[in-house]
Amino acid sequence: MAASLRLGRQGVLFGFRLSSTFDRCLLATHPCQDNVRHFFRSPWILGVSPFKVEMPALSPTMEEGSIVKWLKREGEAVAAGDPLCEIETDKAVVTMESNEDGIMAKILMEEGSRNVRLGTLIALMVEDGQDWKKVEIPPPDAAGPPSTAAGPVVPPAAPSPARPLKPVWSGPLRLSPAARHILDTHGVDAKLATPTGRRGLITKEDALNLLKTSPVTKPTRATVAPAPPRPVPPLASTPPPSGSRPNVPPLSVPGKPGAPGTFTEIPASNVRRVIAQRLTQSKTTIPHAYASVDCDMAAVMHLRKSLAKEQIKVSVNDFIIKAAAVTLKEMPEVNVTWSGDGPCALDSIHISVAVATNKGLITPIIKDAADKGVQEISANVKALAQKARDGKLLPEEYQGGSFSISNLGMFGISGFSAVINPPQACILAIGTSRSELRLCEDDQTLCTQQLMTVTLSSDGRLVDDELASRFLDKFRGNLEQPQRMTLA
């Protein structure tokens, strides 16, 4: 072999076995002299290498099956075409035949094993004439779906199926780039990994194996969530995890709120990871179009003050919600969802309002906002926000909105663009009110204006720039002259 020219004896052994663990095994435990002897004697020491019998695909759609009965016992001769076992899958009992001649050496999955996945090792056979009792049993992790690594050596003297020995590698830690990334993301110590690569390289598989065995640590948010330059974007509703309810973000279905008490279950997620996934899905699949407009908040502020005098407490946000709802009512072509190949109009106007809680952002829904007065909207928002902070929102209270509003004005943000909550079509991002000096054309004096920047992110397929602009114009009109909302 070519390797032998460069590396001498070691090269020969490298070439002889695919797995370098074998190599390390022998070199570490036996003096060099013995290697030569082992080379010539190896077939007998190594144990009998078996044919693997794996769970077959008995139909194109089969994914798993149950072993009903073994028709051959250990030690029994098998001819090609002989039935080996009966497997039940999908209401059909199928007799599985052997492809090879040989002797049944070891049955790994007993009768009655259910849900055995395709490719799982179910038995081992050896060639005729070999000692089936000395069959090499691959360790459980190598017994998964077809793996090319020749199983680690099991010398008869050491009967336990040996895992690759942790090598005594005293050099610096060597990580493949993928392994390094994985271990860094999860904050796991690379020294705990068992390297299986050449010259002590910790491969991606080793890193993944280490993750499986070590307790799972939450990946740091910075690396998982795509780092957007924008501040916290609102996204699909996530109920804050509370004692009794699973940590589950529901899928919002506009116009069709989920039945009470129903959840969509996504196993093994924590809030952040799912937020990240939903964000990415939204940003990558929906073509976002942005439009901004400045609204003069003078009228709203004035109205708010006069209502406060009558002990009616409403906030600017409530007016914004009302204005958005009324505008949606006036422009139903914006109250749509993407149905796969075109817009699908919604029959009701439910506004999702982003609420910040300490567990994450959640968007409870104000139902039929266009038909409610500002006072009622205000009461709803307060009640829902409190429920959200207590983690007591019901699914129908956060599932099924047609339009979202996210207000970061309280953080002093002047303006931002939000990420759309699929499958909604738009989201309105509200900034803070700022005072601006403006020249009044009428009397050439300077007057201050309370301006608030709102940015509409819309799904370009449904609400293009032109429609978005008209929407914003109407919205601004409704907000700057609140009395117009009485017309809707």
Binding site: S66, D90, A92
Partner: protein
């Protein structure tokens, strides 16, 4: 009514193998004249083993006197109510194909589609049934599902399927509820005892209905004819309505079928093939005379239909521990079968007397109720 030709296979050695060697491209339709579930199942096995299915397929139509048929890998104690069946004289059969439990009676038609392994296509087979029904009663909404059931009006199950594939051939059989006794069905298809833990294939219960309830004028004969015609149209090069009536009890025509039927009704196949399971349940014991009651725990492990281990936890003040351990001891090693257990427990009871005897008998009865 379509005109048809029905010929009866005559007895006699010279025709004994005629089905097996029947050549030609035409698909073969067979009608079983037996209503015995074991004979019909044995006939299925015979056809699969002996008929060359490589060039053409076979359809077997059959129906049975009331019987419960469980799948290859199922647990009869979990699937059907053995005491109710015993009271009604309904036998239990285990078929060789997989899937769930069904109740057979004379209003339930069975269809078995035999084909080579490569021609195995359950969807195509079910299309024969749905097309036939559509031609007969176009107003009925019959559709086959992904799980190879046939649903009426999108909701009621009128047919379920199971299949078996072996070396060269395969069969797919399904039921068709024409006019089955639905109350008997509900009565029989419930578990014999609670607390069974096993790896056996579970049945998926579904609401069922009879075709007759939705198409009151649909006669049995009419249904059979339509199915035969449709099968030939789908699988045969010629479209005919001919079918052959066969007698599964005819040993000359089907050599070995008798032995096969005998094996199928034996205890070893029907009950002994149950995958290993465990029963964990609570027994309510009462003593009428002392007007007292208590609960006991029973844990039994059964493998191959035979009790491997048995544990009875009876409060010490109810029965002396030696008696309860004797009861469990006498059950171990024997079949998980009511007759056997009853005999063993009666022996024990005989040697006691007085209050202990009645309590022991009550315990015995409770255990027997669990066994079914």
């Amino acid at each position: 009514m379509m005109s048809h030709v029905r010929s009866t296979l005559s007895l006699g050695r010279n025709r004994s193998a005629s089905i097996a060697t029947c050549s030609g491209e035409t698909a073969l339709v067979l009608l079983s004249q037996s209503n015995d579930v074991f004979q019909n199942l044995a006939l299925e096995d015979w056809i699969e083993a002996n008929v060359d299915l490589r060039r053409r397929g076979v359809l077997l139509l059959w129906r049975n006197r009331p019987a419960v048929v469980i799948g290859r890998h199922q647990n009869p104690w979990a699937e059907c109510h053995l005491p109710a069946m015993r009271a009604a004289g309904v036998p239990l059969a285990r078929r060789r194909s997989g899937g769930g439990t069904v109740f057979h009676d004379l209003g339930n038609l069975n269809l078995t589609f035999f084909s080579s392994k490569t021609a195995y296509d359950r969807r195509r087979n079910l299309k024969v049934v749905t097309e036939a029904l559509r031609r007969l009663r176009p107003a009925l909404d019959v559709r086959a599902t992904d799980r190879f059931d046939i649903l009426l009006n999108g909701h009621f199950k009128i047919s379920g399927s199971a299949a078996r594939l072996s070396r060269k051939s395969s069969y797919h059989h399904c039921t068709l509820l024409h006019s089955a006794d639905r109350s008997a069905l509900a009565e029989m298809l419930r578990p014999s005892c609670p607390g069974i833990h096993s790896n056996a294939t579970p049945s998926v219960p579904s609401p069922v209905t009879n075709l007759l309830d939705h198409a009151p004028t649909l006669q049995w004969e009419e249904l059979l004819d339509a199915l035969v015609h449709q099968y030939n149209a789908e699988f045969s090069s010629s479209s005919s309505s001919s079918s052959i009536t066969v007698d599964p009890g005819d040993e000359a025509a089907f050599p070995g079928v008798g032995a096969s039927a005998a094996e199928l009704c034996g205890w070893d196949w029907t009950f002994g093939r149950t995958p290993k399971f465990r029963v964990e349940t609570v027994l309510q014991l009462t003593d009428e005379r002392a007007a007292a009651r208590c609960s006991a725990r029973l844990q039994v492990e059964v493998k191959g239909g035979v009790v491997e281990s048995c544990r009875l936890d009876v409060p010490d003040d109810w029965l002396p521990p030696r008696l309860s351990s004797e009861v469990s001891g006498v059950l171990v090693g024997g079949r998980f079968c009511r007759h056997r257990a009853a005999a063993a427990i009666t022996e024990l009871t005989r040697s006691e007397s007085g209050e202990l005897r009645s309590r022991l008998k009550d315990l015995g009865d409770a255990v027997l109720t669990v066994i079914g």
